[in-house]
Symmetry: C2
Amino acid sequence: MRKLLLVVLSILICLPVAADEGMWLFNRPPRQLLQQRYGFTPTDAWLEHLQKSSIRFNSGGSGSFVSPNGLMITNHHVGLDCLQKLSTPQHDYVKTGYHARTNAEEVKCVDLELNVLMSIEDVTARVNSAVPPSMPAADAERARRGVMAAIEKESLDKTGLRSDVVTLFQGGEYHLYRSKKYTDVRLVFAPEVSIAFFGGDPDNFEYPRYDLDICLFRAYENGKPAHVENFLRFSTTGPSEGDLVFVSGHPGGTERLNTVAELELIRDVRLPLTLARLRRREVLLGSWAERSAENERRAHDELFGIKNSRKALLGELAGLQDPAVMQAKKAAEQDLRQRIAADPQMSAAYGDAWQAVESIVKRNRQTFVERSYLTGGAFNSVLFAYAIMTVRYVDEVQKPNAERLREFRESNLDSLRQQLFSEAPVYKDMETLNLADSLSDWMEAMPGDPMIDQVLAGKSPSQRAADLVKGTTLEAAAQRRRLVEGGKAAIEASQDSMIRLARLVDPRARALRTAYEQQIDEPRRQAYAKIANARFKILGGSNTYPDATFTLRLAFGTVKGYGGAGESFPWATAIAGAYQRAAEHDSHPPFDLPESWLAAKPKVNQSTKLDFVNTADIIGGNSGSPVVSRAGEFVGIIFDMNLPSLVFNFAYKEEDARAVAVHSAGIIEALRNVYGASDVLNELEGK
Amino acid sequence: MRKLLLVVLSILICLPVAADEGMWLFNRPPRQLLQQRYGFTPTDAWLEHLQKSSIRFNSGGSGSFVSPNGLMITNHHVGLDCLQKLSTPQHDYVKTGYHARTNAEEVKCVDLELNVLMSIEDVTARVNSAVPPSMPAADAERARRGVMAAIEKESLDKTGLRSDVVTLFQGGEYHLYRSKKYTDVRLVFAPEVSIAFFGGDPDNFEYPRYDLDICLFRAYENGKPAHVENFLRFSTTGPSEGDLVFVSGHPGGTERLNTVAELELIRDVRLPLTLARLRRREVLLGSWAERSAENERRAHDELFGIKNSRKALLGELAGLQDPAVMQAKKAAEQDLRQRIAADPQMSAAYGDAWQAVESIVKRNRQTFVERSYLTGGAFNSVLFAYAIMTVRYVDEVQKPNAERLREFRESNLDSLRQQLFSEAPVYKDMETLNLADSLSDWMEAMPGDPMIDQVLAGKSPSQRAADLVKGTTLEAAAQRRRLVEGGKAAIEASQDSMIRLARLVDPRARALRTAYEQQIDEPRRQAYAKIANARFKILGGSNTYPDATFTLRLAFGTVKGYGGAGESFPWATAIAGAYQRAAEHDSHPPFDLPESWLAAKPKVNQSTKLDFVNTADIIGGNSGSPVVSRAGEFVGIIFDMNLPSLVFNFAYKEEDARAVAVHSAGIIEALRNVYGASDVLNELEGK
């Protein structure tokens, strides 16, 4: 952890970004910085091509088109959600991998939605004009929600594109993102999980690595492979050490602009609570998975997600628990505040923002735990999630667009229905296990809460969970559809246990949410808008980038290793390393290579690069992002970051933090000599 | 969990015990009950023989002598502590098992102490006479500690036996236990962990089971095998369904007499905190163990202990979170209080006890978290434990016996030195891992505590942990000895990082302990003494047994299965079942049988019983307890309890709760036909 000493940090807020930092907006690219550091200036065409070749996986990752026929590539662990939902006890595609040799063999994913960003429009002025500064917070929140929904609806009606008003700079700006949506997505190729995630949890966030973390899908339109104009040409040679590379993807969220008061809340409340819950679920589900191979299959995706988050958040917490990090944050904040204080006009306009955040944080802290349980923590159940979504759907769609809970805005309804009517399998045994434990967790966290007594109805958590799961039929999508179509009358008449539970819990959950939106979220937006504006004034707007928000961003960096005298980490690993590491571990899982790799060993070129690292600024959500050369070619695919970079949520640093990617030459080698996937190869190579 | 509906519970406090309940004192055996239920009356000789054949493993389990030459049997998981400490990367006795074919091959355990109970004396009157009712709590605590230490020292001087004044009925009585001590204990035989703990964590606390959870040691005196007069004859046939059996062992602790207020503290504070810590350590150590085979070896014993406790405590919490359990406890408490209230004399003497406990619980709750961190939770490190023991040793032995912290009383010093100067290996990598995480845990639990800043000294938890572990030499027993011999001057001059940390933390940790002993523990003893006396008056003293305290107890029960129409669990399993279960799991760990069992399959009698269940009342600490027939023969060995019995900490129930034991016939079969251990067999069979 000594590696985390953030000398870089102290200049973070008050000077323009240094080094290869930044998750840049495509409508505000770092042209000057790229020119200065790399003598490269991306043209508008270059940027547009990359933007429209990039794909957002709504299940939580990134990807890119790599052929004109809608072929796209992402990570195996991004595709995992689809693989898991397609698998059965008889056909476990996670374990065995999959290869469709013809279009006819391509299998449709159950409930995947992909978005391709088509345009960005700054709508800050219009959003803010609906919210005059004098407006009380509750009205302001409603007004802001209303104008955002209206802008989105207008845009959807006009363009037919998915339209989202995105909050940037924590409320400093609002941009309208229009995306082309794909919901017919089919599986083309997946390797076995044992090579996609070779080294498993022990090697996760570590480097050197030897993973073929890829998965290929194809977008369909009207039942046929989609023809796309923008796709990345696949480089069969891939990058070399020292190359400038770009990463185009969807970093999920960062908190670099947060004030110190907010960071303390994260360190002392949010991360400990979240980590405790993750560990709890890891132990619960891990023990259950151990009991049988079928349990393991059912739990695989969720367990991976839990372990992955646990490790990432542990790295974040370690950052915030490092006095050096917090001191740097404090110093930078102090510096910015002093600069503002020194200017009477700025002081009048922005000076009170930090104190405002501080009192918002105090309020947030008071209800944090209850909110975290009532909005999901207490009910770790897919069936319950369906139930509350169903109950709310029926309530919300009756209201005018502007007054709905944000996820029920008109422009989002299609996507929401895609989720709500998903045909993904629900495992009732796993549901009971999870729900019983989360109810028990809730009892521990809030002993004596009268809502708990109402929910448990005199039963123990495990008995109640068993009853609830037995008493529902929401695992059938048709049942959810029937309730939604039956409207309020159907909901009120329903004897379904989960629907009844959702109706019991909903009023309190809504009240907490409203209080949060009005008393915490809206005032926070206003306070951070001031901080953002102050920063623009001091730094210049084009030298800054907003915190990540799961919207498309451009990062850049150099392909290079790290370390020094003591330990040195190479810029890339070769295929030989995978065999070697398996041997060192006696092929004990998770260090066991799949049969296909063992059989192919003599044929495979052992010196071909498999994985490599670079200095680009990424975070969770960037999984599957294409790594692109100056020429705009696909040269690799991001799949991980190393341990030192886990602090990226709060600050970038270059010394030893690295993004980890699969090398495009390794992909080619594996497809050719391990999998004999000539059809895929031909398409990638444009033959 | 519906199975836990405790009809039995409602009569627990106010009527004499029913069914096969009870962890009875050897000086107050349930003669009447045994006569009524089973027509059996144990003679004094029968009891004395069993008592003196029973062994307490101070590392936390039970065992028994099974030959006149000091041969004894316990569980593999009780012997694990010794096995682990004897193992090296080259010789992993946990994995491979061990078999000494001659006395010369018997290996000495590193730091094991065994006790055999020789006599019990009721010293309640003497203890209480030193503590007049009017004495303020602080003085009372000191006076009580003083008189206990004095009694123990007198006894030690007079008899040369280990002497412990044991608190029973939470303070209702005090008995003096005198034990013969063995510290030269050698390993004779251990099977492979994969059959001793076949099914691992998934099958732990489950039934049916297929475990050979045994380990054989030999007690030595003056370098020669100890000759013992009392030992259990080994039954080669073992028990049959319906047999009355006895269990003689050391249940570690129960809380059945606790008031409802106390149970709520356990449910809402202690168990959640403990479970969160266990899960945290399980995830941490589990991930670390996965990284290499050597890590796994080093972490094995600790990881087993963590998982075992996690599962047990989860069962306890489930019990307390079951409204039926708590309602029964409340009703029983109400009933007893009403009976007391109805009698003016009893009311005056005992009526205020429950309110007293309630206010003690409130006080306890306030400092619970800080105390739990300062007394160990923050410093999960063997090296730190050595350091603080060393620092305190030097302080305490200068004081008069009566004034010392209880573990430093004269009569306990030998045992304490055995621990303090242990030659067990310390793994510095694992130490750093554990300490870093526990420091981080402490930061999460008590943000802003100034003691944390002092301990971290401006470093992050992981950096500080690394420095602390690097800066100490306490892993060498000689170094600890040197400091102890050097006394106060040596401690004060020491630059050892852990010694300095211990000196920094010690004043606050002592202050918390003193406050606990004076303001919580002593008043609680007084309050519970009243409750106990009231219960004696109402129930009659010989119809009650005290909560378990890791002292020798006698339990009894019937060999029988459980379950009904839906699911039925047989009274015993056969060896064939182990092979079958391994096959069902494709021999995937932890369902993999060792080579020895695979090779021996054709030779082994598949229908020989391997494990069996009975209704005896046991709890953690009973591991390794002999199961004994009416004839006083060894017919099996307790190694587990099933899930429904995890509520035993708070209440016994008979319906589906069962103690799980290895069948003596299974032991014989394995020793003969799997291990060819004719030497051990001959000794067990008295040949």
